[in-house]
Amino acid sequence: MKLLKEFLAIVWRSPSGKASLLVFGLCLFLAAFGPLLAPYGATERSYDAAGDLVRLATPSADHWLGTTLLGRDVFSQILWGARPAIIIGVLTALGTVLIGVNVGLIAGYFGGRVDSVMMRITDIFLGLPFLPFIIVLLSLTGRSIWTIIFAMMIVMWRSTARIVRSQVLSIREMQFVAAAKSTGASDLDVLYKEIAPNVMPLALIGITFALAWSVITEASIGFLGFGDPDVVSWGSIIYQAYASQMMYRAPWWVLPPGIAIMVLVTSVYFVGRAYEEVVNPRMREMR
């Protein structure tokens, strides 16, 4: 909590951080209430007075961003799509960093054989081609939000692990670690009560970048046609447009989801960078 407060305070101090935080807050708001605000259902089809499907309608007062080939309201779909984007992004980022921080802590702290085995494993994951591996995994496990989160977590923890490990390598040599041990702290105490608080800033930076990455990756998965078929996400809207071959006739169908992704991810990047700029010099000082 204290950490989160400090995080927000640091980001809030920079102008770009403040703006990005507001934008990200808006995305969170849409994720929570978007479906309530949406004038139509995610897959609801619109019919005109004559009872015909409103296909590929241009933006109008009824359909702010026009409709799709199947008569669905694009604006409503964008609102509905915020929730899966945030849920997938946040859960993947948290899971990724949870794995990465723990691997980094354990490898860096215990060193020796534990370290070399864990780092070898990390190297192997580092060599995995990111998107291709996720696709292969999804083709085998089936496509749902949960398998997508799981697949992304499996390939994304590796970079956090490396960064955390190298920080732990220098922290564990510091005297406060010896001091804690000499007061009778166990390895777990030292690892999670003394060292872990000192790598939390890295974990927070890791969360922001993982969040940004997973939103883009989820969209790419959706675009390649491996997304959750039951969920309307921004990636899947683009995929529908692409697969229907109608996207070049209906820019209003393709543009909004891409812009939504761009706005969300850009805000996350800027939040992360505002924090990083303050915290990185501090972390370097510890080495």
């Binding site: 005297q175 406060f176 010896a178 804690a180 041990k181 007061t183 166990s186 608080p197 000192n198």
Partner: protein, 339 residues
């Protein structure tokens, strides 16, 4: 009371697979190589030596951060090894350490209150928050941080060097140890606050009836706090005795060299500078015979092949083939008592 007997701490230099397979083991680093001494409660032992002589390893071994290779450490007659294997946590309650670096030895992410009460949590003392807080306040005030309530929520980076070292001391006494080890506690502080810390340590020893080991490479500060001195060279204690007799009547050539290297407060005191040749040899390749002989200005033939046994006279002992016996000089005493 703590007794140390023939304590050794050796480090293997190579543990790689290649050396295991070929059996081509390099000799170990003999950081601590047969050390023995005793400290009673209410007494301060000064441990003096150059950097690299094994002081820090000895201290880390004493407070349980390292396992001794051989030898014994006894607290009130009980062997520390059996104490540690029975209950490692309880052992740590007996010995606490004040580290050299007041900047690195406090966790930057914890508040002063956290730092001082953490040991009780690690010891699973079973105290609730209020009890932890009152214990923290008590030791902080004892360490001279008054009013302690003002310091509880501060972070280390908000404190001065002297205040930090007082926090370190408060942390060390919160577990109420029998033995306090102070590893060069003032070497990184400003001159103006050094004596405050020394006074604090002295009063703690008296009030709490602690045994204390005061480690330093600087002879100037030892006379005002230590009751006895042990001079360490290359993993061994070469001379040991009451502070007064070691300073006034140094037996070992190495001690004499250290003494002449110490700047004197008295401008009239003239000491013959003794020249010392070469640097401290490394602890892998320890010289044969007396380990000091390659640098000793007074070495004789026997020094080269026979390791000298400690020669004891009264409570003063020195491991040298040619101990110098002189009557104590009075002026030394005056010169070294600083206040």
């Amino acid at each position: 009371m703590i007794e140390v007997e023939n304590l050794c701490k050796h480090y293997a230099t190579e543990t790689g697979l290649a050396s295991l397979l070929t059996g081509n083991r390099k000799p170990p680093v003999r950081a601590v190589d047969g050390v023995g001494f005793r400290v009673t409660n209410g007494e301060v032992l000064g441990l003096v030596g150059e950097s690299g002589c094994g002081k820090s390893t000895l201290m880390r071994t004493l407070c349980g951060l390292e396992k001794p290779t051989s030898g014994a450490i006894r607290f009130a007659g009980q062997d520390s090894h059996s104490l540690q294997s029975a209950d490692r946590k309880a052992f740590h309650k007996l010995v606490q350490m004040v580290f050299q670096d007041p900047y690195g030895s406090l966790n930057p992410q914890h508040t002063v209150g956290d730092i001082v009460s953490r040991p009780l949590i690690y010891q699973k003392a079973g105290l609730n928050r209020d009890e932890l807080k009152s214990r923290a306040i008590r030791v902080l005030e004892e360490a001279g941080l008054k009013p302690a309530a003002d310091f509880l929520d501060k972070y280390p980076h908000q404190l001065s060097g002297g205040q930090r070292q007082r926090v370190c001391i408060a942390r060390a006494i919160v577990l109420e140890p029998e033995l306090l080890i102070a590893d060069e506690p003032i070497s990184m502080l400003d001159v103006s606050i050094k004596w405050g810390i020394i006074r604090l340590l002295k009063s703690l020893v008296k009030d709490r009836n602690l045994a204390m080991i005061y480690v330093t490479h600087d002879l100037a500060s030892v006379t005002s706090i230590c009751d006895s001195l042990a001079i360490m060279y290359l993993g061994r204690i070469v001379e040991c005795g009451s502070t007064r007799s070691v300073i006034a009547n140094p037996q070992h050539p190495y001690t004499r060299i250290l003494l002449t290297a110490t700047p004197s407060v008295d401008p009239d005191a003239r000491r013959q500078p003794v020249r010392i040749v070469g640097g401290i040899p490394n602890a892998i390749d320890i010289p044969s015979g007396c380990r000091f002989h390659p640098r000793c200005p007074e070495a004789i033939g026997a020094c080269r092949h026979t390791d000298p046994e400690p020669v004891v006279s009264g409570n003063h002992s020195a491991a040298c083939h040619l101990p110098k016996r002189e009557t104590p000089k009075q002026e030394y005493e005056q010169e070294t008592v600083i206040r």
